[in-house]
Every structure is written in structure tokens, then in C-alpha cells.
Symmetry: C2
Subunit: 161 residues, 2 copies
Amino acid sequence: MPKLNLSQIPFVSRCSYPGKLAQPFDGRSNQRLGDASGLTQYGVNIVRLEPGALSSLRHYHMQQDEFLMMTEGTCTLIDDDGEHEMLPGDCASFPAGDANGHHLVNKTDSPAAFLVVGTHTQSETAFYSDIDMMVRSGPDGSAFSRKDGSPLTADQIGDNK
Amino acid sequence: MPKLNLSQIPFVSRCSYPGKLAQPFDGRSNQRLGDASGLTQYGVNIVRLEPGALSSLRHYHMQQDEFLMMTEGTCTLIDDDGEHEMLPGDCASFPAGDANGHHLVNKTDSPAAFLVVGTHTQSETAFYSDIDMMVRSGPDGSAFSRKDGSPLTADQIGDNK
């Protein structure tokens, strides 16, 4: 049935970042509405952020449009332009290839949530604005590296640049 | 800036249905968030329905995934499974090619609104469930016809089947 039974779609906490970079994401969980309902052309997720949690490392996508709408609580959108308060109903767009790295942080004492849409593409490259890391994704999965393509090492992961 | 200034994005009332089929859509308006913010891979619109207004004629898409989330008020989702009340936060998914025609109707005395996402594709065919009509869209625009491809006539438009 087209109307979703949201109570039947689980929230999943999983972070693919390598090493200690994954640690700040314990308070983030995703409800994968698009995957659960048969959409294949774009992902639609509800992202829930507990107090103090981050949506992602600050990043931008080369091939995939991204859109979000706040649905609950208050978050701070951090991008190259500074910090922007996001309340329920507030929206943000990140066109593919726009090198304005962004993420949301829940700086409040209450849970927050937003709806996010991202195109499904055959391949994708994303760059992380605050560390020397990129990720390439394709049919065989995702691989993190330095921005010059060289491997990350245990020492390098988490280096601020 | 990625955060959208929603007050600067106009609501537009425009209906491309031919002839008298366009008449029931005076109470519908669209705020084209995706177009206004440089997204090209999918459309993101806020659709506002005044009391009594319809989102569209009941239809389904062959090439384009569609997703919606209610953001204000109450609507009735009508599809092949019946009628379903949609409250703020409720969501629905319509995968491309799923022949379950759908639309939303505002049966209340207050305005209602929802966020809707639809893939941008090179071409598209949509079928209307309750009348003998289809629409084909491509680089040269959109053309409405009967489902067998023959032209609509003034008499045919609005015929219930």
C-alpha cells in the first residue's frame, strides 16, 4: 500500500566511516523510508539525531542532489557560509557538484529529526570538508581514501586539516 | 546558500490538464523548492490544497518514483486500496511503474499541504485511472491523449469511464 506504516520501518544506527571517525555517530539513526517502500531512483530517510549527535562529517556530493526538511526539534546546519538554525519546516538543498560542505548538528537537549532525499546514482564521489578524506562509491561498494586517492592509515584517520 | 528562504519562493497555481479537466484545480498551488534551489535530478514541491482542492487527477507514473510527506492539515489519499487519512508526518511512496493510481483530496475546512518528490527523467508516461487519458512527456513538452494514443476531443475530455 502506498501509505507507509512508519511504525513498521526500523531506525538503524550504522556508520560506515573508518576507525575512530565513526565514534561521534552513536546518537544518529536512520529510518529508510524509500528502500522500505520500493523506491529505487532516490533514497528517502528520516534521520534522528539525539542531543549532541551529528548527521555526518561535513561533506559534499559530486553526482547526487541532496535535499532535506526538518521535521522535529532544532538543528544547526553548518556549511561554508556559517551556522544556520533549522526548525521544523525549514529546508535546505545541496545540488550535485556544489562544493559547499555541510552537516547538521543537534546542539539542543532534545531529539531532532529531518527528512533527507538523495539521488541513487551508479557511482558517486563525496569529499569531506574538514579532513583529508574522500569516498568513492560504485557497484562494488564504497572506498574511503585521502583526497589524492592514497590510502588512509590509522594515524591519518581523524587528522584535522 | 543551501538553507532555503521559503518566503522568497512563490506559490504558483498552474494546471496543464486540457479543457474542463483543469477546473477543479483552482485551489491547488505549488512552491517549487527544488527548481528554485538548483536541484536537477528530482523535483521537490510543497503542494498547498485549499478546502475541496485535489492534488491531481488520480494517476500513476511509469518512469518516475514519487514520494510525499504531509506537512500541514489533513488530506485523504485515494488509491486503488481505498481512502487513507493523511496527517502531518504521514508519508506515501509510489514506485515507478506501480499501476496504483492515486491523488490527495482536501476534504476538510482548513488548508492542507504536503511535500512531494518526483524524479526528473528524459521521458515519462503517466496514466489516469478514472478517465480515458494518458500523458507523454519528453524533451519537446507534454501531450495528452486517450490511452490508445488517439487524440482527445472536446467531448471526450472529462468523460468518466
